[in-house]
Amino acid sequence: IEEPLIFEMGQPGRCGVDLPEPSKVKDRLNGLKRAGEIGLPGLSEPQVVQHYTRLSQKNYAIDMGVYPLGSCTMKHNPRINEKVARLPGIGDLHPLQPVSTVQGALELIDRLAHWLKTLTGMPAVAMSPAAGAHGEMCGMMAIAAALEARGERAKRRVVLAPESAHGTNPATAAALGFTVKPIPANDRGRVDLTALKAALGPDVAAIMLTNPNTCGLFETEIVEISRAVHEAGAFFYCDGANFNAIVGRVRPGDLGVDCMHINLHKTFSTPHGGGGPGAGPVVLSAALAPYAPYPWIVKDDGDTWRVAEDGAAVDGKPLGRLKAFHGQMGMFTRALSYIMSHGADGLKQAAEDAVLSANYVMASLQDVMTPAFEGPCMHEALFDDSFLKDTGVSTLDFAKAMIDEGYHPMTMYFPLVVHGAMLIEPTESQAKEDLDLFVGALRALAERAKSGTAAEDFKAAPRFAPRRRLDETLAARKPVLRWRPSNNPPEGDPMKQAAE
């Protein structure tokens, strides 16, 4: 049975809620009462439950098995985090309640801030960014603010970023008016230090670097890099997307980082939720701390907290405001729950297990697939597509064939610097037995691909998924971005049949 759209299920006279009759009042809408139908469909509660239950069953999820999506870190999402986030007195607080009535909430934020600062070895953290990219914006604004304070903002217009950087890095820098200059990688998958040094000059504002980098490797010369950057008068922005590989074992502050955003959903397991919400607190070095955006949660004497909501109220030069209210509180709660559940010992162990699992996958597959770089890797195993050469099977085909084996594909074609890249991140959450099954499935696929006779099969994959391959070109060429009554439902539409 195909699942109709809610707009194809609705009938007038149906409603999924019961609300009391409003008392009759003269409306005070300045004559602007809405005229005519909105066009929302009417469904009963049972239909709503069935619709979304059936939709959910068309998704793959961490709760179902291995989800080896490199760079995305699909680790286990503990349910206690969901529970505490919903506690009355936490989940239901209004952000503008009198500060005296939210002392526990402010303490909670401050406690998470303490963990983030301590784990990174950094003196300050800006909590309000809503996601990783937002955190990047925050961090780069802080760098701009520091340059402005130094009177160098007009002079330093260049941001250096490795070719392998996440797309957000150049996008952020460009939005702030910086010119992005790519730095090549060396043949070991790391930043080419010589090229970097050559690029550094009085026009450089910052370097944006991911570490461990997007190839899943630790930047071995990171200390030299940060020294060179600082000597050139520039700042070191670290993309914290991969902090999960080293959390509890390495403090970015010890590497000379000036600022780093932390994707709470990657490192600290707040749920991905089909694409959000995230949260992207940014830790800041002493040089950047004064520029943190408000609100600042400030602890006064006597164990009371206050919210400093403008520059006048704090001891600094805040760069401004980035988000309404205090940031993604719901994600803070979940992340703190995860952090307290792990503790300093468990976070370290989790990072080690993630790295060990990635190396185990790489070691188990290196004879049939082609690792892009020599190991040890960190939390991700990166392969290129040379093992598929002349097989007629592409990275895309290989990924889609994994779906028929019951797995979510790995990240494909990222990082861009590796041809036909396949980036596998097993995380610390999978049992060895499950990794073995996963490795077995990939080995079988690789061998089948190399047999040279299976290209057709690979191109036809997936066959056992809710949908076969979708026509993305059609979607982009003639965008249908919403339902309209005039939309022609495709052939075989159930609601049409029902009407007959």
Binding site: N59, C72, P98, L319, L322, S341, L356, M378, F414
Partner: protein, 448 residues
């Protein structure tokens, strides 16, 4: 460690397979100077679930839950009743623990609800097209200005004095660091502001809010026409999306971009986040729109299906040429929004809006009758502004000591303007009861 499936035996077997003697060997690329000898110092070890739960209960106990107190706070975040089905659905692991739907064959669930969400947002706002959600209303407003700048190739945004002060601050912050201009009108507590005269050939957009931060309901049809005549865009912000059940939608007033805070539908107050930003525009501007978009297509068997589309706007493809650096959306909050709105449907959503208006009308009549209190609004939806005979902030604090959560003093959001010192914002939704109203009135009488 309950979350870690690897056993000591597994670890040694795996190390052997890798050919490493210890896990330290796998970290050998870390420079020696940055290698910690043990755990990070100064942090406690792991706790069991019982202990963790207790810790959070202790945090909760230090707050006053709105469910235990008379409650009249709004100012951009509203307390509504969310049906239990909503929270139940968003907690299904298939939704909760799934990633961005980059592999459409096995994420049709997420893709279809986002397509339905986009349609709902288009209908509510009266616009042609909407994206798959933004972080929240405040950041979406800032993205809308950037989009207007791209479309008009101008850099001067004009901000209404009725715009939520946080939204204004975010746009100003972004303007400062991204190098454009944001000109803010002064706070418009009376709802009488006229911006048409300020629109000129440099103006990229005018940003207004409806109902305004102070609660006034305004018609922006003429402003829209003036903007279009000057080559500028009209951006309409809605921080209380429930109002769209009763008020003429921005699309019918000629708005070019509509941005809403969607929290009211499906999402709890959550001390300010995560919320969900709605973002709608005209078809002709779709390729300048930030954020993710889901489109309909067919699969290899010709069956209807959905995919992320027009991603050539996005950072992971366009990098420094992207329309926005945004990557994440508010997927799960968008799900909560769409499930709640589906439950409401046409009849329920309109009824909900009527209920809010009726409750707020009753509240307005009763507080306006208090001596010395002046209601500034001729029009409002579920929130309005009072001028008190004394500064509002200490009044609110005094009532908080009686566990009455009596609205927001405007000075909390606009601290630098003495003219707003006595102003109090009060909101009432369908959750308001006589049991809450009576203590508020009594409390106000006492402290005023």
């Amino acid at each position: 460690m309950r979350y870690l499936p690897l056993t000591p035996t597994d670890r040694s077997d795996m190390l052997a397979a890798v050919g490493a003697k210890s896990v330290d060997e796998l970290f050998k690329d870390v420079p020696a100077s940055a290698r910690l000898p043990g755990k990070v110092a100064g942090l406690p070890d792991h706790l069991g679930e019982l202990e963790v739960e207790r810790a959070f209960q202790a945090y909760a106990a230090k707050n006053v839950s709105p469910s235990t107190a008379p409650f009249f706070i709004g100012a951009g975040a509203y307390r509504h009743h969310v049906p239990s089905t909503v929270d139940y659905m968003i907690q299904r692991g298939e939704f909760l623990t799934s990633y961005t739907p980059y592999q459409p064959e096995i994420t049709q669930g997420t893709l279809q609800y986002l397509f339905e969400f986009q349609t709902q947002v288009s209908l509510l706002t009266g616009m042609e097209v909407a994206n798959a959600s933004m972080y929240d209303g405040s950041t979406a407003a800032s993205e809308a200005v950037l989009m207007a700048n791209r479309i008009t190739r101008r850099t001067k945004a004009l901000l209404s004095g009725g715009l939520h002060p946080h939204y204004r601050a975010i746009i100003e912050t972004t303007a400062h660091w991204q190098g454009y201009s944001a000109v803010s009108a002064k706070a418009d507590a009376e709802g009488l502001e006229e911006l048409i005269a300020k629109v000129d050939k440099e103006t990229s957009c005018v940003v207004v809010q409806n109902p305004s931060f102070f609660g006034h309901v305004r018609d922006f049809t003429k402003l829209a026409a003036a903007c279009h005549a000057a080559g500028a865009l009209l951006i309409v912000v809605v921080t209380e999306v429930v109002s769209l059940g009763l008020i003429k939608p921005p699309g019918e007033m000629g708005a070019d971009i509509v941005v809403c805070e969607g929290q009211s539908i499906g999402n709890g107050l959550g001390f300010g986040g995560p919320y969900v930003g709605l973002f709608a525009t005209r078809d002709k501007y779709v390729r300048q729109m930030p954020g993710r978009l889901v489109g309909e297509t067919v699969d290899a068997d010709g069956k209807r299906g959905f995919v992320l589309t027009l991603s050539t706007r996005e950072q992971h493809i366009r990098r420094e040429k992207a329309t926005s650096n945004i990557c994440t959306n508010a997927g799960l909050c968008a799900l909560a929004f769409t499930v709640h709105l589906t439950l409401l449907g046409e009849a329920g959503f309109r009824r909900l809006a009527e209920l809010n208006h009726a409750k707020a009308s009753e509240l307005a009549d009763r507080v306006a009758a208090l001596p010395g209190v002046k209601l500034l609004n001729d029009s409002f939806f579920n929130e309005f502004t009072l001028r008190l005979p004394k500064p509002a902030a200490p009044v609110v604090e005094a009532l908080a000591e009686h566990r009455i959560l009596a609205g927001v003093p405007v000075s909390r959001l606009i601290p630098d303007d003495p003219s707003v010192e006595n102003l109090l914002l009060l909101a009432a939704t369908e959750t308001a009861t006589e049991a809450g109203l009576a203590p508020l009135i009594a409390g106000l009488k006492e402290v005023l």
